[in-house]
C-alpha cells in the first residue's frame, strides 16, 4: 500500500524520537549550539534567541541499576533514567545543561549531571516559583529570566536583543499553535490521524529546531486536512498525568482487544508542553515570557491558588473533557511521583460526578504491557458495560 503524504511526515517525527542523539548531532554538525533541558519550565525562547537549540533530555527505558548509587530508589524512574543519560555520557555532545527549579526528583537528576557527569562548568539552574499562581511570581520570574539571559549572553559572547527574543517568541508560538491544531483533529469522531501519532509529533517537537519542526507540522496539517477521516475507533480515552516519553503506552491504548482510541494527553510531555502562548510585541520581553509561562496548564508540583488552595489544572482538565469528549480517563504517572497521586485523589470525585470511569497506571522504567493491557481493557469493559467471557 502506498504511503499517504502524512504518513511520511509522521514517520520522520517518529524517527527523530527514536534517534534523538543522531538528530541533535546533525544540528551540531551544521554549527548549532545545543542546550539540554530537563523541565519544560525552562524558557526556551531565551536560548533560541541566542542561537542555541534547546533539546529536551529524554529517557532511554533501559533497565539499569547504576543510578541507585547516586539517587535514592524512591525517586521516579523518569528522573533516574534522565540521570542515567548523564552518567552514561549519552549527552556529552551538549554545550550546556539547563533546568528550572521544579519537582525535587528532576532537580536531583540535574544535580547528578552537575556533580558526577562532568557538567559542573556548563550548567544553569533557573530559580522558578513553586506556586505559579502567587501574585509575586511574575516579578520573580522576570528577575530570574534576566539572570539566565545574562548567563547565556556570557556563554555565547554576544548580547541578546529584544528583536532576537521577539523572533524566538514568534517561532515558538507558531509551534504551539500548530501543535494545538494537530491535537484538535482528535476532537473529531473520525480524525485523519491517531492519538499516538499526534503524541509522537509532540514529543519530537521537544528535541527539534522549532523552525524545521514548524515546516513539518505545517505540511502535516495541510495534508491531514485533505485526507478523509479514519473510521471512528471505539471508546475514547484521555490520559492525564506526569512525564511519559514512552510512546509504547499510547500505542497500547489503541491495540487492545477492544476498540479504543487516545484522544488527549494532559502531561508535560504532551499538552502541558505547548498549550499556551507568550504574548507578542510587548515592550518587556522577559515579562511577556513570564506571563506566558504563568498561563500554562499548571504542573501539579506548582499548582495551588493562594487563598483557596484550588488546583487550577482541574479547570483545564474539565475543559478538555468537554472539548475532546473522552469516555474514560487514564491516570498515568511515574511510580514514586509525589504530586500526581495527590491530584488523582482529588480528581477522581470530579470524574465520578461527570460519570467518567477512570483507571490508574503507575509507570516505571519499562511498560508492563500485559498488566497495563488488562487494566485498560477492564476500563473499556466498565465503559461499554461489556462482561468478558460471556
Amino acid at each position: 500500500m502506498m504511503n499517504k503524504g502524512s504518513d511520511t511526515i509522521i514517520e520522520r517525527f517518529r524517527s527523530i524520537t527514536e534517534n534523538t542523539h543522531e538528530y541533535a548531532k546533525s544540528l551540531q554538525g551544521k554549527g548549532q549550539l545545543l542546550a539540554g533541558y530537563m523541565c519544560t519550565h525552562v524558557p526556551e525562547e531565551i536560548l533560541y534567541a541566542a542561537g542555541i537549540i534547546p533539546v529536551r533530555i529524554l529517557s532511554s527505558h533501559v533497565l539499569q541499576a547504576m543510578t541507585r548509587s547516586y539517587m535514592h530508589e524512591t525517586y521516579c524512574s523518569f528522573s533516574h533514567d534522565c540521570a542515567y543519560q548523564g552518567l552514561q555520557h549519552n549527552y556529552d555532545y551538549l554545550d550546556l545543561i539547563v533546568t528550572s527549579s521544579s519537582c525535587i526528583h528532576m532537580g536531583e537528576a540535574f544535580n547528578v549531571w552537575v556533580r558526577f557527569a562532568g557538567f559542573q562548568q556548563k550548567s544553569f539552574l533557573i530559580p522558578y516559583p513553586h506556586i505559579i499562581e502567587t501574585k509575586p511570581a511574575r516579578g520573580f520570574m522576570v528577575e530570574s529570566f534576566g539572570e539566565f539571559k545574562q548567563f547565556i549572553e556570557k556563554f555565547v559572547k554576544k548580547s541578546i536583543t529584544d528583536d532576537d527574543i521577539e523572533g524566538a517568541i514568534k517561532v515558538y508560538n507558531h509551534t504551539r499553535k500548530l501543535l494545538k491544531r494537530l491535537w484538535e483533529f482528535l476532537r473529531r469522531d473520525n480524525p485523519p490521524i491517531t492519538g499516538p501519532e499526534v503524541a509522537t509529533a509532540t514529543l519530537a517537537s521537544q528535541v527539534m529546531d522549532k523552525q524545521e519542526c514548524n515546516q513539518m507540522l505545517e505540511q502535516l496539517i495541510q495534508r491531514l486536512e485533505a485526507e478523509p477521516g479514519k473510521a471512528p475507533s471505539g471508546v475514547r480515552l484521555m490520559v492525564t498525568g506526569g512525564a511519559c516519553d514512552d510512546l509504547g503506552i499510547f500505542g497500547l491504548i489503541e491495540h487492545l482487544n477492544y476498540s479504543a482510541s487516545l484522544v488527549f494527553i494532559d502531561s508535560c510531555t504532551a499538552a502541558r508542553y505547548f498549550w499556551f502562548e507568550v504574548p507578542e510585541d510587548r515592550s518587556d520581553k522577559l515579562e511577556a515570557i513570564a506571563e506566558g509561562y504563568i498561563g500554562r496548564i499548571p504542573c501539579p508540583a506548582k499548582d495551588n491558588v493562594p487563598g483557596t488552595g484550588e488546583k487550577k489544572r482541574f479547570r483545564f482538565i474539565q475543559q478538555f473533557i468537554e472539548d475532546f469528549k473522552p469516555d474514560g480517563v487514564v491516570f498515568l504517572y511515574q511510580r514514586f511521583c509525589s504530586p500526581q497521586p495527590m491530584d488523582v485523589v482529588a480528581l477522581k470525585p470530579i470524574l465520578d460526578k461527570l460519570g467518567i470511569p477512570s483507571t490508574e497506571l503507575e509507570l516505571d522504567t519499562t511498560v508492563p504491557i500485559t498488566q497495563f493491557g488488562t487494566q485498560l481493557e477492564a476500563l473499556v469493559e466498565i465503559i461499554t458495560r461489556v462482561v468478558p467471557y460471556e
Partner: protein, 440 residues
C-alpha cells in the same frame, strides 16, 4: 550519672497546652498548616490564635500513639492516598478521615476541630498538596501557601527574599480579608521578634553539643524542638528556651550530660527515627555511641551563621542581635522573618547539594564526629534522600559512614533487621577508625 533536665516538664506542658487550646478553644481562631511557615503573621490577628502544625503534630502522635498512627495511615491510604506518599501527611490526613485527633498529653478527641484557615508553605511537591487535601476534605477551608523557594544561601539572595516577603505581605492582607479582623502590626511585630529569638536560642542550645561530653542526646533534641515548632511566637516560648539555654550552659560548665557515656560521637542526617525505634537507639547506647548533632533537630527550627565567606559555619547567632533588630515596620519585620526562616539549614539543604555537603563537612569537623549516619526517609522527598546517597559516596573514604532507609512515622517501611546489622557494623567501623587514628 545521667543528668535530668529541670526544664523538661515545662516544655512538655507548653506543647500540650498549645494542642489543648487548639482542640478545646470555645472562641478565637484555629489555624492549621506547616510549621515550616513563618508563624508570626498569624498573631497579628489577635491574642486568641490557636495553631496546629502538621509535622510536629504527626511526629508527636506517632511517638505517643503508635497503634493510632498505624490506623491513621491506613485510613488515609484507604481514602485514596498513595503508598509512597509522605507518612506525616498520611497520618495527619488519616486523622481528618477518621474524624478524631490525638495529642501528646494522651487525649484522643472524637470530632476533628475544623480550622478557620490554613496558613502554610510550599516546601516540597507534597507539602502544599497536604493541606489542599485537608481543605478539600473539610469542605474548602480557606488556604494560603507561601512559596519559600529555599536552597543554598537563599536568605542572602535579595531576589528570593523579596519574593518571599511580597507573598507574606499579600498573605497578611488575605488574613484580614478572610477573618474580617483588623490586623495589629504591634502584635505581629512582637510575635516576629519572639519567633526569631526562639530560633536563635535553639541554635545556641544545639551549639553547646560541640562540647565533650555533649550535654544533650538525640532523644532530648528531638523532644525539645517541637515546642518551637508548635508555636514559637509567644513570650512563654522565649522564656522556656532562655531557661533551657541557661541550664544546658550550666551542664557544659559542670561537664554533665543526659547521656554521659559517649565513646563515639555521631553526626546524623535524617528525620529522627531512633526515637520511634528504641531497638536502634539501644544498639548505639549499648556501644556508648551518641548522636550529638543532626541537621534535622538543629536546623528545622534553629538558625546558625550558615554560609560565611563561602564556607558553612554551625556557629550560633548572638541572641542579643535579635533585640537590636529593626522591626519598626511591618515590612521590616516580614523581611527579617523571611531571612531567618530561609536561613534554616533544612531549607538550605533541600534544593542545594553543595549546601548539604558543606553542612555535613562542617558538622563533622565542628562536632568532632567519629561517624556519619545517614538515614533517608523513604516517604519524605524533602529529607534530602538524594543528597544522602551522594554524600555516602563522598564521605565514606573520610569517616565511617553508613546509610540505611527509614521512614519518619511509617514503621512498615523500615527494614529493622537490616538497619540493625548496619548499625552494629557502623559501631565496629568507628571503633576500628578510632584505633587506627590512635595508633598513628
Amino acid at each position: 550519672m545521667p543528668y535530668s533536665l529541670t526544664t523538661w516538664n515545662e516544655f512538655k506542658n507548653y506543647q500540650s497546652t498549645c494542642y489543648r487550646n487548639y482542640l478545646y478553644a470555645s472562641e478565637g481562631l484555629r489555624c492549621m498548616g506547616s510549621t515550616w511557615s513563618v508563624l508570626a503573621p498569624l498573631k497579628g490577628l489577635g491574642e486568641d490564635v490557636h495553631i496546629i502544625g502538621g509535622e510536629p503534630h504527626a511526629a508527636s502522635t506517632a511517638g505517643t500513639f503508635p497503634e493510632e498512627s498505624r490506623e491513621d495511615i491506613s485510613a488515609a491510604e484507604r481514602a485514596g492516598l498513595g503508598f509512597h506518599s509522605c507518612s506525616y501527611l498520611k497520618l495527619f490526613v488519616g486523622e481528618v478521615v477518621r474524624d478524631k485527633i490525638a495529642i501528646p498529653d494522651g487525649t484522643i478527641k472524637e470530632g476533628y476541630p475544623k480550622p478557620d484557615l490554613i496558613w502554610t508553605t510550599h516546601l516540597c511537591s507534597q507539602h502544599s498538596k497536604w493541606y489542599q487535601e485537608v481543605s478539600r476534605r473539610m469542605g474548602g477551608i480557606p488556604m494560603y501557601a507561601i512559596d519559600m523557594i529555599g536552597g543554598g544561601n537563599a536568605e542572602k539572595d535579595p531576589k528570593i527574599v523579596k519574593y518571599v516577603c511580597d507573598q507574606i505581605e499579600e498573605g497578611i492582607r488575605w488574613l484580614e480579608r478572610v477573618t474580617g479582623r483588623e490586623y495589629s502590626d504591634e502584635l505581629f511585630i512582637k510575635a516576629a521578634r519572639n519567633e526569631i529569638k526562639v530560633l536563635v536560642l535553639w541554635g545556641n542550645i544545639c551549639a553547646l553539643n560541640r562540647h565533650a561530653p555533649a550535654p544533650l542526646d538525640e532523644r532530648r533534641l528531638i523532644a525539645l524542638f517541637p515546642p518551637a515548632m508548635v508555636d514559637r511566637t509567644t513570650d512563654q516560648t522565649v522564656r522556656i528556651y532562655e531557661a533551657l539555654f541557661k541550664e544546658v550552659k550550666h551542664m557544659v560548665e559542670t561537664g554533665q550530660s543526659v547521656a554521659p557515656d559517649q565513646r563515639y560521637r555521631i553526626v546524623y542526617f535524617g528525620i529522627a527515627h531512633t526515637y520511634g525505634h528504641p531497638e536502634m537507639a539501644r544498639i548505639l547506647r549499648d556501644a556508648g555511641a551518641e548522636i550529638v548533632a543532626s541537621v534535622y533537630t538543629f536546623g528545622t527550627a534553629g538558625n546558625f551563621r550558615g554560609i560565611v565567606n563561602g564556607k558553612w559555619s554551625w556557629d550560633p547567632l548572638d541572641p542579643a542581635w535579635v533585640d537590636e533588630l529593626d522591626l519598626s515596620t511591618r515590612r521590616n519585620a516580614i523581611t527579617e522573618l523571611a531571612k531567618i526562616v530561609l536561613g534554616w539549614p533544612t531549607w538550605q539543604g533541600v534544593r542545594s547539594y553543595w549546601a548539604l555537603e558543606q553542612m555535613a563537612r562542617a558538622m563533622i569537623t565542628e562536632y568532632k564526629a567519629d561517624g556519619l549516619l545517614l538515614a533517608p526517609s523513604r516517604s519524605c522527598e524533602t529529607d534530602f534522600r538524594n543528597g544522602y546517597v551522594g554524600m555516602q559516596r563522598i564521605f565514606k573514604s573520610e569517616i565511617p559512614t553508613i546509610e540505611y532507609d527509614s521512614d519518619q512515622v511509617d514503621v512498615r517501611k523500615m527494614d529493622l533487621p537490616g538497619a540493625q546489622r548496619k548499625t552494629e557494623l557502623f559501631v565496629r567501623l568507628m571503633e576500628a577508625h578510632k584505633k587506627r587514628v590512635h595508633d598513628k
